[in-house]
């Protein structure tokens, strides 16, 4: 093998190992040494060593084991170098962490890592950052870019979260069976926020759809699904993300404008992601268990992506079910839009207008109202609604879409 080919092969192996093994290495070390900080630093050092050694020595037969062993050695070196007080502190954690685990959930260190990063005692933005760093293996600058903050700000956020985990003794443990549904729901919230930031990026200076973030969210959700295959809401979340991601290419036009679902070129949808999403939704239906929020959202997306046109009666029925579990104004907004399609714009508008007190600061409310007003021929009101929506959004593709709708209205 030439040197160049060997270097390329080592690079590929390292990229793959980073994607597949990072979380496992961090999780294994965090369990053994009782410190997320030490686990993260040692894992990063092990990957840096691999980048030096693999092109020269060749790729080890079991890259994951090599990385774990190397990271463990780095961690032990680090502990030896540090002051005795810190070392004693870590020993204390070590003893505690060998306590027996509650039974009933899949036993995988990566799952412990996920639950710790998404702990309810941490601020939501810290949970997101920590999950992307510790489980996803993203670098601090990458995460900072994703959330439009300075590297130093993001670094400080992650450091502070790790410090709280250590000082407050947030345990590195699987939740008990009683707590599991609530804690899983907390993890799903974090994953969904990551996905949504990619799906409809909020900043004025970012691309309207951030595939890097949506893909990362899907990768993390796949991991969670692999670890908790029987959890209906995890399955529902994965299906929801896949069915949304499948439409990404059709969601923004070549001129950078957001394309509403009904006007999308279905030929541009990713058929394999849709098939996978539909299969997951069917699997949940077949389970006979009552669906949770994410399963219902997935089912709604499955109806949207089934056949040539959506079955609005079925979508309204699913929103009815969803409104029972989650009576939030946003669910009622989406239900009103579906009713507008099923029963006509007047019925939809009546439901929408009732939501004005809660949603007047939310741009999709005004955009949905504008569409119904146009259908009713109330152009002056429609124009005002588009203007309200425009004033409330930063997303470039949405601005382009709303501006064109408004211009078309003015031209009439």
């Amino acid at each position: 093998m030439t040197t160049l080919r060997r270097v390329t092969a080592a690079d590929d192996a390292l990229t793959r190992a980073h994607r597949e093994e990072w979380a496992r290495v961090v999780a294994t070390l965090a369990k053994r040494f009782g410190s997320l900080d030490l686990a993260e630093e040692s894992a990063a050092e092990a990957f840096a060593t691999a980048a030096e050694r693999w092109p020269v020595d060749g790729i080890p037969p079991n890259p994951g084991a090599w990385l774990t062993t190397t990271a463990t050695r780095k961690a032990i070196d680090r502990i030896r170098r540090e002051s005795t007080r810190d070392a004693r502190h870590r020993e204390a954690h070590l003893v505690y962490d060998t306590q027996p685990e509650p039974v009933g959930a899949v036993d995988d260190d990566r799952l412990r890592l996920i639950f710790t990063c998404c702990h309810p005692a941490l601020a939501m933005e810290a949970r997101i950052a920590l999950t992307l760093r510790m489980v996803g293996g993203l670098g601090v600058p990458e995460i900072a870019r994703a959330f439009l903050v300075q590297d130093t700000t993001m670094g400080a956020r992650i450091t502070r979260a790790k410090a709280k985990i250590a000082a407050a003794n947030i345990p590195y443990r699987l939740p008990t069976a009683d707590d599991l549904p609530q804690r899983v729901s907390g993890v799903l919230t974090v994953l969904f926020l990551i996905f949504n930031e990619g799906y409809l990026a909020s900043g004025p200076d970012t691309a309207p759809v951030r595939r890097d973030l949506t893909r990362e969210a899907i990768r993390l959700t796949r991991l969670l699904h692999e670890l908790l295959p029987d959890d209906g809401e995890v399955t529902g979340m994965l299906a929801l993300m896949l069915l949304s991601e499948a439409r990404s290419d059709a969601r923004v036009s070549s001129t950078g404008e957001l394309v509403p679902l009904g006007q999308q070129d279905r030929g541009m949808w990713d058929a394999s992601l849709i098939a996978e999403g539909h299969a997951l939704v069917r699997e949940r239906l077949a389970s006979g268990q009552p669906p949770g929020r994410y399963q219902l959202l997935a089912a709604i997306n499955a109806v949207h992506t089934d056949g040539d046109a959506p079955d609005w009666a079925q979508i309204v029925a699913l929103y009815d079910q969803l409104a029972v579990l989650d009576p939030s104004p946003i669910v009622r907004l989406n239900r009103a839009v579906a009713v507008g399609e099923r029963d006509g714009p007047e019925a939809g508008l009546a439901l929408l207008d009732a939501l004005a007190p809660q949603l007047s600061g939310y741009h999709p409310f005004h955009a949905a109202r504008a569409l119904l007003l146009v259908r009713l021929g109330r152009e002056v009101d429609a124009r005002a609604a588009y203007e309200s929506a425009l004033a409330l959004t930063d997303n470039a593709a949405e601005i382009a879409y709303l501006t064109r709708r408004l211009a078309r209205l003015a031209a009439r």
């Binding site: 502190h89 000082a167 947030i170 345990p171 939740p175």
Partner: protein
């Protein structure tokens, strides 16, 4: 591991008889589970005195060290293996004393 739990309040001497009964029952539960270290109610912050003994003569000042809309009206010191246990216990404590609580870890020496 020990945690200081501050009882957050914005009114003075606002505890009720019902709350006192619930707190007693909760304290019994803490003792039975081996979590009890110490607890107490605090007088209004307006009757506190700030001391600065760093100079030649100690300096005494009337009133709290920081004026705040909310303050600690009492506290628990509890023993718990980790934050999850502390949070679960004190969620009950919050219900018993009918106040919000702040859970703060003591430094490990």
């Amino acid at each position: 591991m020990q945690y200081l739990v501050n009882v957050i309040d914005s009114r003075s001497n606002s505890g009720t008889e019902e709350e006192a009964v619930a707190i007693d029952a909760f304290n019994d539960k803490l003792r039975a589970g081996g979590h009890w270290v110490f607890a107490g109610g605090l007088a209004d912050p307006s009757v506190s005195t700030v001391i600065d003994g760093r100079g030649d003569e100690p300096d005494f000042t009337d009133g709290p060290f920081v004026e705040a809309k909310e303050w600690a009206a009492g506290f628990w010191l509890i023993e718990a293996p980790d934050l999850d246990v502390a949070l679960e216990l004190m969620a009950e404590g919050s219900k018993a004393c009918n106040r919000r609580l702040e859970v703060r870890p003591l430094l490990v020496v």
